[in-house]
Symmetry: C2
Subunit: 418 residues, 2 copies
């Protein structure tokens, strides 16, 4: 029942996938198409904000590339904690539903619009997408598309883009990581955490403090200098080892951790908020019940920063790419990262591969923080047979589920993943 | 009546100075000492927080170096806007009065305590001091003392230490100034402003936006790419030229400028608050009337920083040195700066030299933002004869002056400086 644990490269569309389309398609007669009809594709659809039941795999019209766009036959997609927040509608200015989630993928160039110099059909590429990644085909402007290193697998590329770019920009462009510094990262076993740990190891004498669930410690202990349980009082634990604090705090939790993180900074240290996963509620509880925490983050007095010589920053790679037009800067970063990859100094850690139809199980796993490294949706993977009907069913009853706070209905829980 | 406009090196104690000691000392009979008594020295005393009248030159017991300290025969001292804030008591945790102000000086090593390896009697040095700089002799721990480059004059060294170290650390350690970036600096004609402009010129294609009083524009226009009047709406002016904003905002004004500065940042840009000169009140008005602005600085929501990809920092060199023990880091910066000085890439701009007895006029000049570059107290300079009695008198009547808001009594104003 476990997902495939190791990443594997899959460069061709398999017979199984086509078979599966038909099989799944049969459940949604209104979308039924013949296998030969190339104008439709499978995609994960979020029908509205809420619980796992809002997700299903369905058919959609296949996009065609506009001018400046590259059409990609998707092989693998990254699943991020942010995707949970999107699903719960727990983000600023949420888009309209229904939508296809997903911000990153890897695959093969299948066609190009006009003015897409630099790419050819058949190129193996990694891409950022402003939603719509979790599908068999995506189109995205060429500024968001990168030719992959030859040795990189598709799951690695999908695990690479957001996490390594974010980790690199935070460590080296927002903060200024140098020899001898110290870094605190939460969720050290997650995709960003592992990217941070690996990038820190490229600089001499960097101390990495990490928090992670205890069961992950054995697996990740070589990548992090000091590991604490995620429920431990990490402020006290860090101070025991380094009474002066740390130079860089990377916080994806938000809430009260902002004050704690600022408090742990050494003079000239930098606290970076790059997510707010504490805002994500339990999968069976109302997602509104905790959403208010987002606004309860303690505000910071600039005068205090002045007196204490501290720096506070926010980092959102998606806003940088899709709202703020900084593709050029990101491209430079991707080139540096590919160089580090080719030198074998960094390598994305893939936790597990999941079929599109298994997206709920995958989300539950990331919600439960069960993963070590990145969860990947492998577009060509067949769902584990017993789970296939569960994960693609549309739970009509679930539509009202969010209204019942403290709902004890466990139908959305995936008991096979702890 | 004007102060000496050009910096000059003065390496020896002159006859005039000794003569002046006696002359001035005669006004304060309780402190009168013979010229041959080496156990006392002249120093500027701040008798209590308030107006200019709280400052006078008097005799004080000469300090002797403790273990790890260097005793310096002072040649020149720097006068900073911060000294006005200290005088007004407008700083966090103000020290007890009476005190000798001043945080930086240059001079000649006259003696050393035990364990002061690296220095010899006769060394020309630049030093940071935690108060007490405005005197003929200071003692300070060797961590705060640097051997000066051979070509550097004493006034240059006194103009160099705080301003260039602060400018360098803000641009290159807090922010991450690189080729092609843009910087906004207020008070571009001041000591820090000129240091920022010069350091920016060491990096290719950096655009510097500066605000300064219009009468300074001709003098500083070569050092700054775009100059605006200090009363202009600089937000609009910057946006006209660079609609996207700037990469780095250096703010010594505080108050509403924090929000304006943050608003002007490009994505991944850094706002640095390094002072709050807007908190300084008029010299004849109550200094309490505006002190509350210090606490009215708008607080910053970290979530907003996250959404906008922005960085906010505070920088206080004095806290870094004297509260936070980062001498080692500062030493590295000073070495880099001396190297740039020796390569003739940077050169401190000295506005004017003033005798200790002219400290009030000097303070009025910096308060009125009349200076271009740094004001220096030249310990060996004789006060301009006509001014000597004014500037050393203790204005008893002035003790209550601060209580009268909007006081139109101009006795503290120096009409000869516009």
């Amino acid at each position: 029942m476990k997902p495939t644990d190791m990443a594997k490269e899959g460069t061709e569309m398999t017979e199984e996938t086509e078979h599966m389309i038909e099989k799944n398609g049969a459940k949604e007669t209104e979308h039924l198409v013949s296998a030969g009809d190339t104008k439709e594709m499978r995609a994960v659809i979020l029908s509205g904000f809420g619980g796992l039941n809002k997700l299903r795999v369905t058919k959609k019209a296949m996009p065609e590339p506009q001018e400046g766009e590259v059409k990609i036959r998707v092989k693998a997609c990254g699943l991020n904690f942010l995707d949970l927040m999107v699903r719960q509608g727990n983000i600023d200015n949420p888009p309209k539903t229904p939508l296809v989630p997903g911000f990153e993928c890897s695959g093969i160039v299948e066609a190009m619009g006009r003015n897409t110099k630099g790419f050819e059909i058949g190129d193996r590429v990694m891409a950022f997408v402003n939603y719509n990644a979790w599908a068999e085909v995506v189109c995205t402007p060429l500024d968001y598309v990168y030719n992959m290193p030859d040795d990189m697998t598709f799951p690695e590329a999908a695990a690479f883009s957001m996490n390594f770019v974010a980790a690199y920009m935070m460590l080296f462009e927002v903060a200024n990581l140098r020899e001898g510094m110290s870094v605190l990262v939460h969720s050290a076993g997650g995709g960003v955490g592992q990217a941070v740990a690996q990038l820190c190891s490229t600089i001499p004498s960097v101390t990495v403090f990490g928090t992670a669930s205890s069961f992950k410690h054995e697996a990740i202990k070589d990548s992090v200098t000091h590991l604490f349980d995620r429920n431990a009082d990490y402020v006290q634990e860090v101070k025991k080892i380094s009474p002066e604090g740390v130079d860089i705090v990377l916080d994806c939790l938000s809430g009260e951790n902002t004050g704690k993180g600022l408090g742990l900074l050494r003079p000239l240290g930098t606290y970076i908020l790059y997510g707010s996963s504490n805002m994500v509620t339990g999968e069976t509880k109302s997602f509104f019940s905790l959403a208010k925490s987002w606004w309860q983050v303690e505000k910071v007095n600039p005068i205090k920063l002045y007196e204490e010589n501290k720096v506070i920053a926010g980092f959102s790679l998606l806003n940088l790419l899709f709202k703020q037009g900084r593709c050029g800067q990101v491209k430079t970063v991707v080139e540096k990262l590919f160089s580090l990859y080719n030198q074998k100094k960094i390598k994305p850690v893939v936790d597990s591969l999941w079929a599109l139809e298994e997206v709920k199980e995958a989300m539950q796993r990331i919600h439960d923080r069960g993963n070590i490294g990145k969860l990947i949706l492998d577009v060509e993977k067949s769902p584990t047979p017993l789970m296939a009907s569960d994960s693609t069913e549309t739970s009509e009853a679930g539509e009202e589920e969010e209204e019942h706070e403290g709902d004890s209905d466990n139908k959305e829980r995936m008991p096979f993943i702890q």
